[in-house]
């Protein structure tokens, strides 16, 4: 147990500009706390997140990857997040076949008004990754 307490995961979060990122902004502005393990990368739409970005994040040692977009139907560009949903579902299966725990990849819908939800899902995810331990791809 003590080992997993020391372990501080590195997590990449791809947030779409219109919802996820605005949600993160609101979480900060309204004083919700969330762990510093998460590195946010702003993209215009969650549909911009190429599966390669996610694989590269794992390759360079990320312990977990989050993709945060608008709620289904609310995407600023129409259908972007439907693409993302399907990509992430297939990617999870891909990771599983590669022997990487699919829980390390997570897709969440956070709207611009949900600062509280943003802080909550990030907290949850960080705790889950802490339980899973470091990624096997991490160079030791």
């Amino acid at each position: 147990m003590s080992k997993s307490e020391q372990f501080e995961p590195r997590i990449i979060a791809f947030c779409c500009n219109w919802c996820g990122y605005a949600g993160a902004d609101l979480a900060g502005a309204s004083g919700y706390r969330y762990p510093a393990n998460i590195v946010i990368i702003r993209v215009m739409c969650s549909g911009r997140v190429d599966p390669m970005f996610i694989l590269r994040a794992f390759q360079f040692g990320a312990d977990g990857v989050m993709v945060i977009g608008c709620h289904p139907g609310d995407c600023h560009y129409g259908k972007g997040n439907f693409f993302t949903l399907r990509r992430v579902k297939i990617l999870k299966r891909l990771l599983e076949q590669f022997g990487i725990n699919p829980k390390r990849l997570r897709l969440e819908w956070v709207s611009a008004a949900e600062g509280e939800k943003f802080a909550r899902v990030v907290n949850e995810f960080v705790n889950e990754i802490k339980k899973l331990g470091p990624s096997p791809l991490k160079k030791r």
Binding site: D50, Q59, R87, I90, F98, L132, P136
Partner: protein, 293 residues
Amino acid sequence: MKKKLAIVSLSGICGGCETVLGVVIEKIEELFDLVYAPMFVDSQDFSDADVFIVIGPVETKEDVEILEKIRKLNKPVYAFGTCAAYGGIPGLINLYGLDETVVEIYKNRTKSGLVPSRDVPKPLKFVDLVANHVNVVSFIPGCPPLVDKVPEFLEAVAKGEKFVLPEKSVCDVCPLEKKGKSEITRILLINEVDPNEIDWNRCLLEQGILCMGPATRALCDAHCPQRRMPCFGCMGPISEKMDQGASALKAIASVLVNVDIEEIKKKLKDAVGLFYKFSLPSSILKHKWEDTK
């Protein structure tokens, strides 16, 4: 003076690439002095060769030693075929590892159940690429490479130049009609297709048949889609910087936007086998990993 050519085959080969080289043997004779090629000439030694063509993926300690010898000779090396360039079909072993595969094939699937151990080269842990062991000038992909492209490649080898590959996808050269919009609500693997129900003059992916065309390099003039087979991806990724599986996944998931997620999950159970059939060892994740459950 003709250059002295050595054609070196590593252990994972199927013979397809050599057959293609056999078809163009006159061109080889015209351009080179063939000093080493177990398939065509009787000689044991490649140490006086000026240029090398390597075929096959790196699977055993012996392969590593051969490549080490080639490297010490300090001569230009060219890779021939998808196995040498990207790992090829044998690369799928990386989902299990070579040790496990040897046990599965020889122990669990034969009557005698004996794993050969004497006088056989030791397998590596995972299938590897030629380019990870020697400096490769350039390569020609294909499983096997198309006969009409090989003479051009051989000329590049003779001149010591790079063989320039197109950075286009199979879709770019595929003559099937694309409407650009897909309303499909199903996925079909090629073994589930009813040939009478499909319009064979229209893009197969737009009709729900999984096709690797959007993620595969166009060195084949789209032979398969024109002959009622979807693209399987044998030419590897479109460019060196791309991951074939990731680009296929991206394109295919976008086409499936109206398909039910449960069906996607069911049909794409073997996602790696579909998307990385020919390029697993050159992909970003490369091989299986040990993660906590």
